[in-house]
Subunit: 115 residues, 2 copies
Amino acid sequence: MLQYQADLDRKFHALADPTRRALLERLGDGPAAVSDLAAPMDMTLTAVMQHLGVLEDSGLVRTRKTGRRRMCEIDAFGVTVVEEWIAHRKAQWERRFDRLGAVVSEAKSAREKRK
Amino acid sequence: MLQYQADLDRKFHALADPTRRALLERLGDGPAAVSDLAAPMDMTLTAVMQHLGVLEDSGLVRTRKTGRRRMCEIDAFGVTVVEEWIAHRKAQWERRFDRLGAVVSEAKSAREKRK
DNA sequence: GCGATACTTAAGCATATGCTTCAGTATCAG
DNA sequence: CTGATACTGAAGCATATGCTTAAGTATCGC
């Protein structure tokens, strides 16, 4: 549970940066090497490497070294926890709205009866 | 578009903290005053207020002052952008997997033909 | 009115984040 | 072999974050 929270922390944090989201979008088209990812970015290779480090630690991206290049790719299952957390929250809110709705219609039918 | 990115930044950042996620879960049961939210937390009221400030700035929570109390509630539409961003990414990855699948089956039928 | 309640504001502080530069090390290509 | 390429690692630095304490202000309940 503690580990679960830490995982969500890392994943939401990883997603909370426009550069990292751009990297994920680029990686959505397919695997790429660090320098390919860095080329269009307006910052140093080192900075991009650090962002990739955050993404990898969060489990959203996997990388492996081949020769002198490090290939990066999306870990498609990485976002699942995030998706599920949001889905659960929405379900909770909707249950509440349903109950509110029930109360409202009860009140309404009570008014009907008095007629 | 710039504003869109900043909005995602704020929302993902707001969600990247266990205390703030706990506040959202609590608010999922219905509106509550700041001190009610702070009571079960292991930190000062001021700290909880600051977390609520982050949540409100991000558009995930709305608050209004009634008397000396400040009531807080979920803004159910606040997460929509976040949900959609994730949905779009997943769709992108899946399109890619489909194309990969197509390539694989083309190669396979090419092998079949050679038989 | 007046003390208790519910925030509010400001300041301070330790740590984390997002960058940079610079000096490596490990491949690869000719 | 040798120079270019592709990272890697360590510092350093400005700003942001997550907290705290302390001193307000504005209701509320008796």
